[in-house]
Symmetry: C5
């Protein structure tokens, strides 16, 4: 997540460098063409780029809106993960009898929940889901088990269900409480699936493509029209206009894919850290980590 600070100009510029270069190219080419072949070039009436400009602005605005919705949905899913992780541990603590090994199971489940959050975040970003930080919170057997499984975060939920079963069979929770905690696990499973859905569903490719093509069509026609009327000034003005359109297009593109290990990502590691802090405080542990701080201009 980009934070509310001064974003480095280089970061922004790098995103649209290539597109701006090609715009620069054709606007220069048209300028030269005009000098030598003035009679063969059409005199584009200015209303033509106006029609195209309004149309592409519209399509782009809707596209941005859809991308924004996708980004916000991803954030909501991780918000639900925060809420359900907290409720999960609070329910475990409020329901289980404090006898026998129930306390041990409870602690194991709570720590596993912390690991699950980190693990899901890494896995969505295509990184090793059992990296250093979170395995600290898992028992040896748990690690051995999830190594045999493809979908690591799902495997952790399976272990949760197994432990809940044990709690029920040792009568540490009653049937109602089991079902209530199971509902919370189901919601966690839902959130995981939703994040995977957003991650694995490509934003309609042709839609993205045609919007890009449409912007170029608009800029070419605009360039042809401007070259007639304002001559050399056309080059900087066109570049500015092009950069605005391309920047907005790129903003949309980044919001469409919120788990790509980029600065514009949903801050899943920071969220997992928050959950870790909350859960450890419920368990009244002494070593509670600090919240994650932003790296330069973004928070991962």
């Amino acid at each position: 997540m980009l934070i509310n600070t001064r974003i480095p100009f280089r970061y922004i510029f790098r995103k649209v460098k290539n597109d701006l270069l090609s715009v620069l190219c054709f606007s220069v080419v048209f300028h030269i063409l005009k000098l030598f072949f003035v009679d063969y070039l059409p005199i584009i009436p200015f209303q033509l780029p106006a029609i195209l400009g309004t149309s592409i602005a519209l399509i782009l605005a809707f596209n941005l809106n859809q991308s924004y919705d996708r980004w916000w949905e991803a954030r909501k899913v991780w918000g639900a993960i925060v809420n359900d992780s907290r409720s999960f541990v609070m329910q475990l603590k409020g329901f289980t009898r404090r006898e026998g090994d129930a306390g041990t199971i409870l602690k194991r489940m709570a720590h596993r929940q912390i690991a699950w959050c980190y693990c899901l975040g890494q896995s969505l970003r295509g990184q090793d889901p059992i990296a250093a930080e979170q395995t600290r919170h898992l028992s040896e057997e748990d690690i051995d088990f999830i190594k045999t499984q493809n979908n690591k975060p799902f495997a952790l939920l399976m272990l949760h269900t197994e432990d809940l079963r044990n709690l029920y069979q040792s009568e540490a929770v009653n049937p109602f409480q089991q079902v209530q905690i199971d509902s919370t696990i189901t919601r966690l499973c839902d959130s995981m699936g939703k994040a995977e859905r957003i991650n694995s569903t490509v934003f309609p490719v042709t839609y993205r493509l045609f919007v890009h093509f449409f912007i170029y069509l608009f800029l070419v026609v605009l360039s042809l029209a401007l070259v007639e009327t304002i001559g050399l000034f056309e080059i900087p003005i066109l570049t500015f206009i092009a950069s605005t359109f391309f920047l907005l297009e790129k903003t949309g593109k980044h919001m469409q894919d919120p788990f790509r290990n980029k600065p514009t990502d949903t801050a899943v590691t920071a969220i997992a850290r928050t959950i870790e802090i909350n859960i450890k405080q419920v368990l009244q542990e002494e070593e509670v980590p600090k919240p994650l701080t932003p790296e330069k201009f973004y928070l991962m």
Copy 2:
């Protein structure tokens, strides 16, 4: 689902071939008319196509948005199917007592759930719902039963309910657990119904029709206006503009119907495969299939 790769030009071109041809036709005809009957043709003021262009761009953008929502809803429904299939098997495993034939019933239900996903996908696409792949996971009696039923996926859910009843009567699950699992089956039944709803509800036909008609009206008026001002150049420019509008219209049309056995479909077979993998890992089976890989530029 189209994947994030280079889409073949031929695939895209084929979609708008016919419409582009007719645009080419009338732009040539207007050009010839102008040469011979210049005095009888009206001099269309350029603001007229501007009004129409803005209007159709607006209507088209909203139409695209509604189509996008429909496509995303379809994807969400299948996301819910993934989540509930996983929860279903996890609940079965976490709840049922491991005594008597409960283990056999559990395995049968889990395999039936895999079959259900494939079966629903095929059925939505209008293909034989009991094709090779999924029947592997069904028992003989199950197959015999669903052959007598019209709605095959619904019939599989009925068998789930019957098996759940058996589990309850043999006291392998307690009353709360029965009701909790029943809620999961109800959600699966909901998702099935939602997918059927999207599939069987035609996008308002007249709406679609008038949008198409409106694009033509705009292009004809634009052609008449351009023929006056830029002559022969009108033909390529109009063709480019027309192609953008028609491509966006077609993109919308494809998103409206996400279960038509086309490359733009929701990737139901790939999703069913993911569910198969997940469930088989929960059952700790040895033979787990690989995820489906894209065929050229799309994933079914």
Copy 3:
């Protein structure tokens, strides 16, 4: 529901006949005025209709979007009715003990559910809710009871509750199961209320009115502007443009009211038929009706 076939031209034309006629009228009148009183008519600058055209296109597009949402909500409500009807019967079958007269009650409730769907559809369309088709599925006492009640579909749900009470008192269902089935009845009651809400809430009348007035304002100003520039051609061009706007307005109007016994209605009878088929197959009855087929270009 209009189906994906060739819609008869007459059907479409009839919708906008009157509006087109009045447009034709004033465009001819302006033409004549111009011939005789040319000096007194204002020379409308073409940007004026451009502003108005863009504005009304915008308002219309939003209006269409709101109408579409309303139409889709109505369809979703009926989708939920399909799902809950299926779940209802499946739950009844999966829960009730097969002893005593539980079987009879179950069958009666399932048939009543079929009748409820038809009855609700008829009632929403303002037709006699106890017409021939559905009463076949009701017992004599049921019919006598609902005749005394104003809201027939609601009365059928009351009878459901009464029968569920009987099942519980004869211990055919346990307390959890009673509450679970009651939740399904509550959802059916919700869907019924939602459909009634859409049906009884008039789309904001002034909004509808001002949009209509705005279209006329635009067309009058456009006509005045065109009469100056393109003369006689103004008449066909204006008619075409007007027809597009009016057709889109009418499309919105029809989507706003999806239960008016018109071809653009939500296909409630066809949906009720689907439910009938599904429920009868759950009951494994022999006589299962065929799905409803479209009448010419629409499905009721």
Copy 4:
């Protein structure tokens, strides 16, 4: 709720009278200024009002959409109240044992529910919540109790909870049934809170203000531009355009506040009456009132 009939012209005109008057004023002033100070007035290029017109139309259309959503949300809340009131009474009837004074309590609760609906409606509209009509349905003690409470409708729900507690303690309902009915009361409490939220949350004031200011800015600039080109005709044309914009703005404003005791309100009294009829029919009472009929052109 305005009904689908001929809305009196006076009602509509009164809404925009003041704004139209001020538009008339400045358009006349500009006209006079032009006659005397023609050299000092700027010649506004017509594209300037075009830009402003498109922009304000956009902002207005979005504003209307947000207002519409708010209006529809209010209607949905009252739809949920209808559904939950019906379910509430149906559950009470289906669950409670018919022994002891359970029947009396049931009847009291059902009547209180009727009173609650009227009471909430009155209270939202800022009228005396214990007016004549609904107190008929309340017992003496109930009235005495709610008189001591600030939030009358909430106080009635408290009494519901108390009675439900009595039913449970006298074993007229079992624990599951108590919880199920309690869930319904919770949903009623939610709907009440939602209606209060819509009522007490002012639509962002500055947003509303700037939209109003923007319309004026547009009209002033348009007036300056028109005065140059079409002279005296400017006055009627500007008035027409202004009235369209102001009427749409007012439509939005009315939809933003659906509980203000105005003709555009959500028809809460009529809805409460519907609930009264439904509940009385469940109780099989003999005296069932008639549905509320519209007063002239609206339904309260």
Copy 5:
């Protein structure tokens, strides 16, 4: 929350002062440039600012809409807090047996719920969450406990769970009732998490940035175009147009962040006060505070 009264002009003006100043600057600069270097300045065709104006209006309108949705979501979250706080206390009162120390626990929980609302509001606004007003309602031990915790409102919910556990163990509530109350606490935990999500998720920074940049680009181009056509009048007209765009942009910006201790905030303190009043009336306490009154033109 700004209330529906006359907003002081100074408050509004201060928001856009800086931006207006820079607009004034460059419009004056262009004017001077034109006087001296008239031959070197391009003659911007007026359609160019028209294209840009329409585009930025569009992007801005969508931006406003997204901001509005965020603001409304924040308000909805606090609406849910009102509803669930009321239901929570009503359930406690309706469920717990009136024996032993259950009454004391109930009262403590109800008072803690009041404190929680104030505490969450303060905490969201970055103020000391244990300020004077609310600690009045907490016991000594509670205050000592939450002082050791990072997330104060979450700590209060933990104490709720602990007390609920005590109620269950002393058999003051039965298992179903415990689970039902636990569901309400879970919903409160959800609402808290949702408010934190809105508060901690920065609105996409680059999006906000490019919109701001786009407005400037539009104003510069418009200024260049106006300077040609209307001379000195350009300065006031541009300032007016600029102020409209900047005011709408700022309105959006304020709605994006509804918990910043500003007049445009969601009125969390006033809402907490309402909850306090409601809960104290449920407990039938004698000292009930008055609702919060607006400070000048806003309500906190």
